[in-house]
Amino acid sequence: MANYEPPVTDYESIVENCTCAFCGCNCDDLDYLIKDGHVVGVRHACRLGASKIMEDMDQRLLVPMIRGEDGELAETDWDSALDKAAELIAGAVRPIFYGWSETSIETMHHGLELGELVGAVLDNQATICHGPSLQAVQNAGYPISTLGEVKNRADMCLYTGSNAMNSHPRHMARYSTFPRGYFRPRGRFDRTVVTLDPKYSDTAKMSDIWVGFEQNGDYEFYNAIRAVLKGKKLQKEFISGIPKEDVEELAEAMKNVQFGALFFGLGLTHTLSKQRNIDIAIQMVADLNSYTKWILMPMRGHFNVNGFNIFMAFETGFPYGVDFARGYQRYMNGETNTIDLLTRKECDVFMVIAADPGAHYPGGAVKHLAEIPVIQVDIHWGPSTEIADVVLPGSFVGVEVGGTSYRMDGVPIWMKKAIDKPETCRDDEWIIKEILERVKKIKAEQGALASK
């Protein structure tokens, strides 16, 4: 068979129970097969996790670099690169520190201190993915549980606007659909899987029920279900393209389960009604709870995107897009978020830590990044490196360095170190701490000058 890959047998040692550093499932049952200080095989991970852990060394960032006058990146030593970064940050009027979702909570600590010191905006990937979900949670509540509870209890799993089979491949296998749980001894056979998505996605293909409502039909559809739950008669024959009988039947089915879990993805946050979609989904879950037990959970993308939100909410009171420009923390949607700051051309220095705005921001926002200095702390050469002026090679959390992360349900998980990092790289935590020290020094010198 052409697609058959023989199992890896050529390895020296195994490191067991490692945590995957890819998606918000944070699968913590992986075994790494190690040879010559490299991971040559990964057991139990999905395609995504395995491909990230067995990285492409061709594009690994190995040395600090500064872009010269000629527009080409040139290797330099750590001192010069860190000094350059510190100089840019200390001289900035409206800096943004963006990213953090693929690094450890320990790194964020130093980042927050640096942000407070220079009056920066601290933001993470939530701003382009689940930000509206966090706003909705602030509006309407957060009926969440842990994934363990879903595994043991849920008899209906509903995925809406999320293609779990593509973005969280082991979510169904490990937590929601397939595993046998305490009250669901037969696993998949004891559960009904529903997918709500305009597209016949890979997740829809595995579901018992697919509701393919119209694009941007989410808001109307959930409201129709809410109306049915409240005992109202639907007036229209078709709701978002779905016959009203089907809506009634689905509402009835959702009412009659013992424990339902609704997982939602970017299909809700990226369409026009944005946070209002989630407001209504949360209220639908609240309505369902008058009949039975339902919970709701956002399908968080990166392994520590939730961690940054929890960390920031704990430290500053706000989950993301926290602006320290006035010396204290402010949070205002549409004002202190990265994309808005960039499209308004407010930002003057941009530091990206463990994220890739070049790959994931809309062109309209990247255009401003092309006009200002960009500092990149990352492990791979990516689209952002093409627009970066200072590049600082970090290390791989969960493989080369330990760190704390938060799973999508808010469970903290310690990710352990399995192998050594390349000699010339540094830990993210060390890099941010060094920049902080250097910025402090510059500020102290400026202070001394000013007082003379």
């Binding site: 491909s51 594009q59 305009p198 293909k205 779905i242």
Partner: protein, 178 residues
């Protein structure tokens, strides 16, 4: 219940399909989002490689739409929206039928045509973009070349033609070693 049988996806695009009228331009709705192939390639770090261009620089289209445009797999199409235009490969969608919608996995190619408008709620509009698709003879650029051609950070911004003629940045990192 809205049970839907596995939709029948025609394996071969029939250009002479009686209902499919060949046209030069198609009005479609664009969705972007993650896709497992794009995700695996991106996070492995292989973004400079041709592989990334194949998995992210691609518009998944309904076979019927492809027939209407007269394109087959790996032909190039130009996607134009209010925010920009980009040339990508065309490919059969494995989620078809979805006539009138195309899907480009998230990445530098999709970014050129999505809307940065957040409507004051922090999140840009990555889905539901109205755009047109037409057949194109231009090449689909590699990631590094695309970033240079679109954002022009380190080249002469006014020299459009000159940028086109620059040598490709290739599939490996380019930097000066010590």
């Amino acid at each position: 219940m809205t049970y839907v049988d596995k939709p029948a996806i025609p394996k071969v695009v029939k250009f002479d399909e009686p209902n499919a009228k060949l046209r030069n331009k198609l009005d479609v709705m664009l969705n972007t989002g993650s896709d497992i192939y794009q995700g695996a390639c991106k996070k492995r770090g292989s973004t400079l490689k041709d592989e990334y261009r194949k998995v992210a620089g691609v518009a998944y289209m309904d076979p019927k739409d492809m027939a209407k445009l007269g394109v087959s797999n790996w032909d190039h199409v130009k996607v134009i929206s209010d925010w920009g235009e980009v040339v990508v490969n065309a490919a059969h969608s494995r989620d078809a039928p979805h006539e009138g919608t195309i899907f480009i996995p998230k990445g530098p190619w999709a970014n050129v045509v999505v809307s940065p408008e957040t409507y004051c709620c922090c999140d840009p509009t990555y889905k539901g973009i109205m755009c047109t698709v037409e057949k194109s003879d231009d090449d689909v650029l590699l990631m590094a070349d695309l970033m240079r051609a679109v954002y022009k950070k380190y080249v002469n911004k006014d020299d459009e033609e000159g940028i086109k003629d620059l040598a490709t940045l290739g599939e490996m990192p380019v930097y000066k070693k010590l």
